[in-house]
């Protein structure tokens, strides 16, 4: 793209734009202008870099786990065992670090803090989030939390699983306290992000942006933020109590000191089940945008999708007991939790059917973000439906703590939450950095990830249904073929993500310049230049129907779309 066309694109979008394109990336320079920035876009970008870095870290541990499981007995863990530890302990550390990093450092902050920070205020038509300083503070808390994890890695790691179940975590596991402190600090980071988003959406909506004119991503983010605010403090106190139990033996969670390990599970899942929806709801919000924009069609059942986000958030608080069907919970409690668990499937299914209905009759373009959107629907359906097997009391007795559970939550956590996040990354990447990535490489990468994911985790449904328990270092020979297939799939995914890292980095330096609106979307962020200006909007944006695509035309000259109504 040559300079005159770029200038044309800029001037059509923002009338008062200065002659030299001034955007948030070049608004000010130097390390401190980033380290002390209060700009939600820069904070979002810094979060994204951090989250993707931790994703790579967690991914390496996943590959170590899968490689160890290539064959029964010791495969590679023995090589990493120090004189004082066994390969089994090394393996325990690997899956613990993988789980804890992926959950607390990647998926929970992934969509809200990284993408949400960047997109949410612009989509809303605001200049920033409500509390910019708190936003920066939240980022630094995330960094400190991450450093605690890095500390444990260099001190022999942490084991006991990402759930830190007592009594093991209270008595024997190593390095649990720094890891717990890390999670505690990350919890504050998450709370601050949530508070910021709730207040931003309540108080910074410009005139005309009514609740039911908000893009669906904002509804998803709002529901998420509510859970972040209301669930995370309970995790905080749980972790503090566990730290007290470990240091002072206060007698709360460990039977050795007079405590109750099931109480720990209740406390932990009271946060961690809603946390599942912290992970999935914003991804669902992204997919609602992707499907509508790339089908060029108004979302079917907008209000149902919006309300279903709130419904999922509410139901999410009432189902934690389904993690404890086999931990001495009374049959009556089990039955009640099972019934409420089933009710979550109603709003979830509403979303899936509405996405399908949105695509029906739309002009679908198989852009890279759309491919991720479609992958989400496919993988979430499998992940959601297998959840019903686990919510059913009789089948859960068999599936509990097997690879069936592992496969189920990977379909939801990775196949849905992370695939949705990567869909969002590909959707907003041209907006964030102002450059296009290589579409061919992106499609190859997507195919490797999508196929590799299913090869890895569908196999684990079969493993689990045949009785292979989770978290085991060793297994019987009859499971070997499934483990081998699963490991091959994980390598395919790794290859896909390496390609993604390559083309995303390459796009920053050599990518084609992106016009303001490359996808033909009509939400407000696409009315800004790419990348957006420092203040987001030179003048207060006119709020119109963000899903009305009738006035959006393709302009071959700039390689993007322009709006007739709002030139």
């Amino acid at each position: 793209m040559n300079p005159p066309e770029t200038a044309a694109a800029t001037s059509t979008q923002v009338a008062e734009a200065p002659a030299v394109p001034n955007h948030y990336l070049n608004h000010s320079k130097g390390f401190l202008s980033w380290a002390l920035t209060l700009d939600h876009k820069r904070i979002g970008l810094m979060y994204l870099v951090g989250v993707l870095g931790c994703f790579a870290l967690g991914g390496i541990f996943a590959l170590l786990v899968r490689t160890e499981l290539w064959a029964p007995g010791d495969t590679i863990a023995g090589m990493f065992a120090s004189p004082g530890s066994s390969p089994q302990e090394v393996y325990n550390m690997w899956f613990t670090v993988h789980g804890a990093v992926m959950v607390f450092l990647v998926i929970i902050p992934g969509v809200p803090a990284a993408l949400g920070n960047f997109v949410l205020p612009i989509m809303l038509g605001a200049k920033d989030v409500a509390f910019p300083r708190l936003n920066l503070g939240s980022f630094y808390l995330w960094v400190i939390g991450a450093l605690f994890f890095v500390y444990t890695l260099f001190n022999g790691g942490v084991d006991g699983g990402w759930t830190f179940y007592t009594p093991y975590s209270a008595s024997q596991a190593t390095n649990v306290i720094p890891a717990l402190l890390g999670v505690f600090i990350l919890g504050f980071s998450s709370i601050f992000t949530g508070m910021n988003f709730v207040v931003t959406i309540h108080k910074l909506r410009p005139p005309g942006m009514t609740w039911f004119r908000m893009p669906l991503f904002l509804w998803g983010s709002y529901a998420t933020a509510l859970i972040q605010v209301l669930a995370t403090p309970v995790l905080g106190i749980t972790l503090l109590l566990l730290i007290m139990e470990k240091t002072l033996h206060v007698g709360i969670f460990s039977p050795e000191y007079g405590g109750d390990p099931v109480l720990y599970q209740h406390f932990f899942w009271f946060y961690s089940h809603p946390a599942v929806y912290i992970m999935i709801l914003p991804a669902m919000g992204i997919v609602s945008e992707l499907i509508s924009v790339h089908s060029h069609k108004r979302p079917f059942g907008y209000q149902f999708i919006a309300y279903s986000s709130i419904a999922i958030a509410v139901f999410g608080f009432l189902v934690w007991g389904h993690h404890m069907f086999t931990s001495t919970q009374s049959p009556a409690m089990n039955a009640i939790f099972s019934a409420i668990t089933f009710s979550v499937s109603i709003p979830s299914a509403i979303k899936v059917f509405n996405w399908l209905a949105t695509m029906w009759g739309g002009s679908i373009r198989l852009t890279v973000p759309m491919l991720y959107g479609l992958a989400f629907i496919f993988l979430f359906s499998i992940g959601g439906l297998t959840g019903l097997y686990l919510g059913t009391l009789s089948t859960d007795i068999h599936f509990h703590d097997t690879y069936f559970v592992v496969a189920h939550f990977h379909y939801v956590m990775m196949g849905s939450a992370l695939i949705g996040m990567f869909g969002g990354v590909h959707h907003w990447w041209p907006k964030m950095v102002g450059r296009h990535y290589n579409g061919t490489l992106a499609r190859i990468s997507w195919a490797l990830i999508f196929v590799g994911f299913n090869v890895t985790f569908f196999t684990q449904f079969l493993l689990g249904s045949q009785g292979m328990p989770r978290r085991y270092y060793d297994y019987l020979p009859r499971y070997e073929i499934y483990h081998k297939i699963s490991t091959v799939g994980s390598y395919m995914m790794a290859a896909g993500f390496l390609i993604m890292a390559f083309y995303l980095l390459q796009s920053i330096f050599g990518g084609r310049k992106s016009p303001a609106n490359p996808w033909g979307a009509n939400t407000l962020e696409w009315h800004c230049t790419s990348p957006p200006p420092h203040d987001n909007f030179a003048t207060a944006p006119a709020i119109e129907d963000c899903y009305d695509y009738s006035g959006i035309d393709y302009d071959a000259k700039i390689g993007g779309y322009t709006s007739r109504a709002n030139p």
Partner: protein, 309 residues
């Protein structure tokens, strides 16, 4: 920060405390207030976990509370309740003073509130000191040996009687733990005897120290104004350390919140000197006040739950 100011000058004249992304001071104030209410919700949930633990253990082991709460000094607790209630009143008056722009009154009220906070923490320190002296501490710090040793000294038991006495304790433990059939903490019943078994190990060594320490004990008793402060070992439920764990964790977390609130008030005292607070801008005083009221409110629940019932 620097960029914050660099584009601020491009805007038309705003109130000096209005950030660039707000349309009006009122909008900014309401957002700050909503943010604080959300934060208070997280605080309630944070304490909610502890209250939940309190009630679960209360339901399963009421004897821990019935016995343990006698160790807490109701008089000091009641005085502290009054101190905090007064501080809430003065905080409310401080908010009022900031709204009408009365700087002198604002400073006076904030200062009184701060002093009430100091008074509360001072009394709390006195109470904690007594617990520490008696060995009534959470978890593994609970000094089973010391408390028994005191009883031994007070009633002039001899060594033989002491062993018998300990045997009684174990028998009693079984009786108590056999009773609550609803226990969801099944493993506890097996481990209950482990705790009372702990004292004898340190007992002989510390018992020999008793004679020499007599003066020190007398001094401790004196601290309590004639109130001896020790509870009878006879009839003490096993795992009594759990009551003191809950007591210290709840009041300790609350104490940390009081300290944070005092820091906020101290900050307000410093910044209010330039007269920045007035009818158009009093957000920090208002939300600082909200926080202080919550801290007060939590104590209103802690006092009866721990001291009175």
């Amino acid at each position: 920060m620097s960029e914050h100011e660099s584009h601020g000058d491009g805007h038309h004249a705003h109130h000096p405390h209005q950030a660039h992304h707000w349309d009006s001071m009122r909008q900014q104030f309401e957002a700050g207030k909503l943010g604080m209410w959300l934060f208070l919700a997280t605080e309630v949930l944070l304490f909610g976990g502890l209250f939940c633990a309190y009630f679960i253990y209360r339901a399963n082991y009421p004897e821990l509370y019935e016995y343990g709460h006698h160790a807490l000094d109701k008089v000091w607790g009641a005085i502290n309740t009054v101190v905090l209630l007064v501080s809430s009143l003065t905080m409310a008056l401080a908010v009022r003073a900031s709204q009408v722009g009365n700087r002198k009154q604002l400073q006076a009220m904030l200062a009184i509130t701060f002093l009430c906070g100091c008074g509360f923490m001072g009394i709390k320190a006195v109470e904690y000191k007594a617990k520490i002296d008696h060995g009534y501490l959470p978890g593994k710090l609970f000094n089973y040996a010391k408390t028994i040793e005191h009883e031994h000294e007070g009633h002039a038991h001899d060594g033989d009687h002491h062993d018998d006495h300990h045997g009684d304790g174990v028998a009693h433990a079984e009786g108590v733990f056999g009773a609550p059939a609803v226990s969801v903490v099944a493993p506890l019943e097996q481990t209950a005897q482990a705790q009372p078994a702990a004292p004898p190990s340190g007992l002989s060594a510390s018992a020999s120290r008793v004679a020499g320490d007599h003066a020190e004990h007398g001094h401790e008793d004196g601290d309590h104004g004639g109130h001896d402060g020790y509870l009878p070992v006879d009839g003490r439920p096993p795992n009594i350390h759990i009551f003191f764990s809950i007591y210290f964790m709840m009041t300790g977390l609350h104490g940390i919140h009081v300290l944070i609130g005092m820091a906020v008030i101290a900050w307000l005292l410093v910044v209010c000197r330039d007269g920045r607070f007035g009818p158009s801008y009093f957000t920090p005083v208002e939300i600082g006040g909200l926080y202080w009221h919550l801290v007060d409110l939590i104590w209103i629940f802690l006092f009866p739950l721990l001291y009175l019932i």
